[in-house]
Subunit: 361 residues, 2 copies
């Protein structure tokens, strides 16, 4: 399930997912096609809308196929409902392309919950992986950090967190090119005895296993952005809250900054001088650069783009999918996770039990 | 346990807690004394160090007492150890002042875990309150938001979350002057069926109870900073991660901003023009303004200052303690919580059971 015999990498696109679909999807694919000449696209959605857009791009000529359907998943559709009655939606048919071997990856900017539910149902998990997770990367003071799970699993057993550590390290390796990623387990303090039992057991197991990557122990919320680790491992509830809190805080700062530069004539003049420098900062923090969360752990590459992104952002999400296929991410991951499970089962039982927390009063 | 007969409000200060103690503690008290002429202080710590500092401030004359001890809690001391062997520390003796009725409040910039453990042990919880929580407030796009619990309780039952909602609403009322605070329960989506079981049950209970404040349902991480609610309710694990993630993101932005203004001569010139406007922004976001997290739910007011704060920040933490005593926060809270528990016990049992989540796949 990596590249096909012709050397091309075939990516199925949910052409109807996202705020400005199918425009951003087709235009994004056209940008990605120039960057990755080996890419081929299967657009799934309303042919009457997609074909005219495809025809505008020379780069897509002979590299694009359309699978027609008029149904689509709406942003507020409930995952459970979509799963039962959304078999003809563009999202579902795009996922099917991967399952049927017509494509190696699927990218969608549609409803996250629906994508997760349908991808899990259709593609199933990789051998040895119990739970898929959502993973992405974002800017820090020192570079980039990978975090998972961002919302696929509300509750996690210690073994799930250990899986996530292995998966996240390989993701940092493949997408960010970090040789020996430093892995941290998100907690509320660095002491051995802090946090939920699952976390304490996972920490013991991660210390005992000799994994690729470097497990450095517990990290706290502020470590997500200070660059002290390359991979932050947490359950899907905490990860989702942390990601959205960081996004919200960033948005608040950006808004305060705008207001400050508009607050007086002097400040406006200041902005004219500093404008060039701020352009660089905006580029550094451009959310489009960090577009593309992967639903990791499935038989097939499944990437979720932000719903509100533009064509450049969508092209970046395609880029994530492309790299994961090209570097045989899933094959490697399956091997690594299975090896890890063998090591895990050989560990003495006391490591799989939580140490008693020191209870204060 | 509000003001004493003389009308003054007596506050015990852990004079040895904080990075730059006792200097910031005494200087902070001197600033607070001018703001709140009714305040009286009991400094607990090394008299030989405190007395010369106190003597420097006219405002403290006749309003300061010293309780001498040479022992102190260190930043890395474990709560459990401090609880057993720290009975003569400045922190413990300052808490004792409240327990013994010599003071109405205690403020410390020392070790949070130790303060929590000792304050719980010495002061005990208010009638009807099962678990104390850590609560504070911080800036949002629209004003300020209160959040709790920030780390006192790693795991919470639905009833604890309901208690926190009542406590947080009254805190927003007392400290921020918000008449009818909007309360949100932190979750990973706005759907009924999302999140942990505890949260789903707490939401049902909060909807069924007619509480002071306005329960608006679930909120997500980005609602913490966008000002859509006045009170964010969550367990201590999630709250601690969210708070530290927000702090870390804010720090990263501030650092990027500094680097941007230093990155070129033009940008430096721009900064000169915009400097005045940025001063206002810095003031708006000044962490010293938001200094003072309360350990809420105890018999006595216990406020934690940031360890790294300066005298102005410490004075603000004293201000939080002062207001809480002055407006009889604990008396009101105890009444409200007991009333709420009566209503809660009258609710039909189906509200105290989680609705079945819609499981996808």
């Amino acid at each position: 399930m990596s590249t096909n015999s012709s050397g091309s990498i075939r990516i199925a696109l949910d052409a109807m997912g996202g705020d400005d679909a199918p425009r951003i999807v087709v235009n994004g694919a056209a940008i990605a096609q120039v960057r990755y000449p080996q890419a081929e696209f299967i657009f799934v959605g309303d042919e009457t809308k997609i074909q005219p857009l495809v025809d505008k791009h020379k780069s897509l000529k002979g590299r694009a196929k359309i699978v027609h359907t008029t149904e689509r998943v709406l942003p507020d559709d409930k995952p459970g409902v979509v799963l039962r009655s959304g078999r003809q939606t563009s999202m579902r048919l795009a996922i099917n392309q991967v399952h049927e071997g017509a494509a190696e990856a699927i990218v969608s900017a549609g409803n996250t919950g629906a994508l997760m539910a349908m991808a899990k149902f259709v593609l199933k998990t990789l051998p040895g992986i119990d739970r898929p997770a959502i993973v992405t990367f974002f800017p820090t003071l020192k570079g980039e950090t990978v975090m998972l799970d961002l919302g696929a699993n509300t509750e996690c057993a210690p073994e799930n967190l250990v899986d996530f550590a292995v998966m996240g390290a390989l993701f940092a390796n493949t997408v960010l090119g970090i040789e020996n990623p430093r892995i941290g387990l998100l907690n509320v303090g660095s002491e051995e005895t802090k946090g939920h039992e699952e976390i304490r057991i996972a920490a013991q197991e991660l210390r005992a296993l000799e994994l690729p990557g470097n497990f450095i122990g517990y990290v706290e919320g502020d470590d997500i952005t200070n660059g002290s680790v390359d991979v932050v491992v947490t359950d899907g509830f905490t990860g989702n809250v942390a990601l959205k809190t960081a996004e919200g805080t960033a948005k608040m700062y950006t808004e305060f900054l705008k207001r400050t530069f508009k607050s007086s004539w002097l400040a406006r003049v200041g902005y004219i001088f500093a404008n060039h420098a701020f352009k660089k900062l905006r580029k550094r923090l451009d959310p489009r650069t960090y577009n593309g969360a992967m639903l990791i752990g499935l038989r097939g590459v499944c990437v979720k783009s932000h719903g509100g992104t533009d064509a450049i952002g969508f092209a970046n999400a395609i880029g994530v999918a492309y790299d994961l296929v090209k570097y045989k991410f899933n094959d490697k991951m399956s091997q690594r996770v299975q090896l890890m499970h063998e090591k895990l089962s050989a560990l003495p039982p006391e490591i799989k039990t939580a140490a008693e927390p020191v209870v204060a009063a």
